[in-house]
């Protein structure tokens, strides 16, 4: 390779670096250019420290993970008890909601009948993970329903325990249900996936409140399952973490660090973070305050 060609090669490399960065930054600017598509005010109940925590001595960036639940989810295979409180024991559930029925799956391009037929004999060609749009609801009817259900269960268990005094099993279940209701009321995430679709405008028409409902990208996971079992689950959010900008990092880092080291019965460090989603449905932190 002669020197002239080599020089052009290096210049092409530099042009590639510049063009790639321009492309990425242009996408960011486009996402944040217009008014946000949605803006949610979240707290320590809906946000936890990101997964890549790094070594304690490192001053790495701070990111927060969305702790979302799924409306109409199937119940957990175990009961919450007093030791399960707090983010560190957050369990996302099965993520197999009842609203993700055959008709809804058909609108998402997934044939539920075909998936059930495949359970009879293993075959190739089953559908795979697919990126769709999810609707996230913050502190809305889905949370109200979950809270009402937890309180109802606590009341029922308390009544059962009162009707059969001296039965240790009843007392234990009543305490567990009361703990679960308390956890639901004060600590559980209020951020729920309530719907899924392919058309953004159609979803926005159904959920017009941009301060309560965010439309985000996520992965839907079809499954081969027999009749009576769910054939799809909410896989994950495509962007499941949001990086905290430098100007809010000091405030949040100390709160999050305090929360990680708190003793179990102490109250959690409280903060509020406003997250916006832009025209490309990419999130960013708009504001953050400690409480």
């Amino acid at each position: 390779m002669n020197e002239r060609l080599r020089l052009w090669g290096f210049l092409a490399g530099i042009a590639l670096i510049v063009a790639t960065n321009a492309f990425v930054l242009g996408g960011v600017a486009y996402n944040r250019n217009d008014a946000p598509d949605s803006t949610l005010r979240l707290s320590q109940r809906e946000l936890a420290l990101g997964r890549d925590r790094g070594a304690p001595e490192e001053s790495g960036g701070l990111s927060l993970r969305f702790l979302y639940r799924v409306a109409g989810d199937r119940p957990l295979p175990f009961e919450l008890n007093a030791d399960d409180g707090g983010e560190r024991h957050f369990h996302p559930g099965r993520r197999e909601p009842d609203w993700l029925d055959d008709a809804r799956l058909a609108t998402l391009g997934i044939d539920a009948v075909d998936l059930r037929a495949r359970a009879e004999a293993p075959r190739g060609g089953a559908p795979t993970a697919k990126e769709v749009l999810f609707v996230l609801e913050q502190d809305g009817p889905a949370y109200a329903a979950a809270l009402a259900r937890a309180r109802r269960t606590a009341d029922e268990e308390a009544a059962t325990a009162a009707a059969g005094p001296g039965r240790e099993e009843f007392a234990r279940r009543a305490k567990s249900a009361a703990d679960a209701a308390r956890y639901e009321e004060h600590e559980a995430s209020r951020l729920f996936v309530v719907d899924a679709g392919l058309e953004r405008d159609a979803l926005r028409a159904r959920y017009p409140d941009r301060q309560r409902f965010a439309i985000v990208r996520g992965v839907l996971r079809p499954m081969v399952a027999p009749v009576g079992k769910p054939v799809a689950s909410i896989g994950r959010l495509s962007i499941g973490e949001v990086t905290v900008p430098h100007r809010f990092r000091q405030t949040l880092a100390s709160l999050v660090a305090a929360d990680r080291t708190r003793i179990r019965d102490q109250p959690r460090a409280a903060f509020e973070v406003t997250v916006a989603w832009g025209s490309r449905l990419e999130p960013w932190v708009v504001d953050a305050t400690g409480r």
Partner: protein
């Protein structure tokens, strides 16, 4: 002579020629006149001096050994420096505001690329150039990945294409097989993700269908046939071996998990089909390696033929046979492969002789 590797190859040939000429003279098979001998020596010395001046080649076995040591040191140094850049960013990342982060990321990519360009002119051996090029590639990978993280950009398979482009560009500019392999792996990732996306699979989950790798494998295996790589020794081999890995590893998975295939037929039929394809293709690749004199291709074919065979034996007999008998069968199978290969070797020698 346009590259160090071709100059080094010519110098090695001259050294081998001199050794053989000396043997022929001792055996009386070829005796050159003093004049011929002097002309030959003068010509070779002129060539070697020119190569040494232009490319800093290894003129003898001792220099060659040292050169291998430098190559290893350069490889390890490049990896260590790339890791140092990563941990340096990680250590001080939280202290920087976003504009400074962007400036550091873009500056490190551009700076390391310009440094590679500068070193390239002053480093005839290429060891320092390759080291700088590897760091430049690592900086660019970090640049794009961390820029996406800072601004919460949606993950995109296009970054694989950008990484592949810079990796391949630097590999050809700096004669680096390590960067070539990195670029090819990114390209395999990109092509496989695209193949998946065209079928409606979310690109990050393209691994759910191992067949996504097959178009990339075919394309990369054929590429050295259409692009002349004689000035880049070893590059064609890297293409072929990585393409074969992208072919055989998915075949191996599909041969035992037919449910992962695109074919909408019974799993067992798919598995049997891919097992037969695995045996046939690995044997075919080994044959092609012998036929075209591609040792690495031959070795890859043989290795995967044996792997397919062992995997099938495991499937058939691991549960039912006593373990000593199972491993005895494996050993006997290996001996059988050896006998077949010896036979092929003999046939090849006869063909060359005739």
């Amino acid at each position: 002579m346009t590259s160090r590797s071709t100059a080094q190859q010519r110098a090695d040939d001259i050294r081998a020629f001199r050794t053989e000429l000396e043997r022929l003279r001792t055996e009386g098979a070829l005796v050159l006149s003093d004049e011929q001998r002097a002309d030959l020596v003068r010509h070779h010395e002129q060539l070697l001096a020119e190569f040494a001046r232009s490319f800093d080649i290894d003129r003898d076995a001792h220099a060659r050994q040292l050169s291998v040591g430098m190559r290893i040191a350069s490889f390890l140094g490049a990896l260590a420096l790339a890791a140092a850049v990563f941990f340096l960013f990680r250590n001080f990342w939280g202290l920087l505001a976003e504009p400074a982060q962007v400036a550091v990321l873009i500056g490190s990519s551009l700076g390391s690329c310009l440094l590679t360009m500068w070193v390239r002119k002053r480093d005839p051996t290429g060891h320092f150039t390759r080291l700088c090029a590897t760091v430049a590639f690592a900086c660019f990978v970090l640049n794009v990945a961390m820029l996406g993280e800072v601004f919460n950009a949606a993950p995109s398979d296009n970054v694989l294409l950008a990484w592949a482009a810079l990796g391949l560009l630097l590999a050809y500019l700096c004669d680096s097989r390590l960067l070539l392999a990195a670029g090819i792996l990114c390209l395999i990732g990109y092509l496989s993700a695209r193949a998946g996306a065209w079928q409606g699979v979310y690109w990050l989950d393209f691994g759910e269908r191992p067949e996504h790798f097959l178009p990339a494998a075919a394309l990369l295996f054929l590429l050295p046939q259409f692009v002349d790589h004689r000035r880049f020794p070893g590059f064609a081999t890297v293409y072929r071996v990585l393409a074969l890995l992208a072919l055989f590893l998915p075949l191996l998975v599909l041969a035992f998990w037919g449910r992962l295939s695109y074919f909408d037929i019974e799993s067992t039929t798919i598995e049997h089909g891919y097992q037969i394809a695995g045996f046939a293709l690995s044997a075919g690749v080994a044959w092609l390696g012998v036929r075209r004199d591609w040792p690495a291709v031959f070795n890859t074919g043989v290795v995967f033929f044996v792997v397919f065979m062992y995997a099938k034996f495991f499937d058939w007999w691991w549960e039912s046979m006593p373990k000593y008998l199972f491993f005895l069968v494996l050993g006997l199978a290996a001996i059988l492969v050896l006998l077949v290969l010896r036979r092929i070797r003999g046939a090849t020698r006869e063909a060359v002789g005739s």
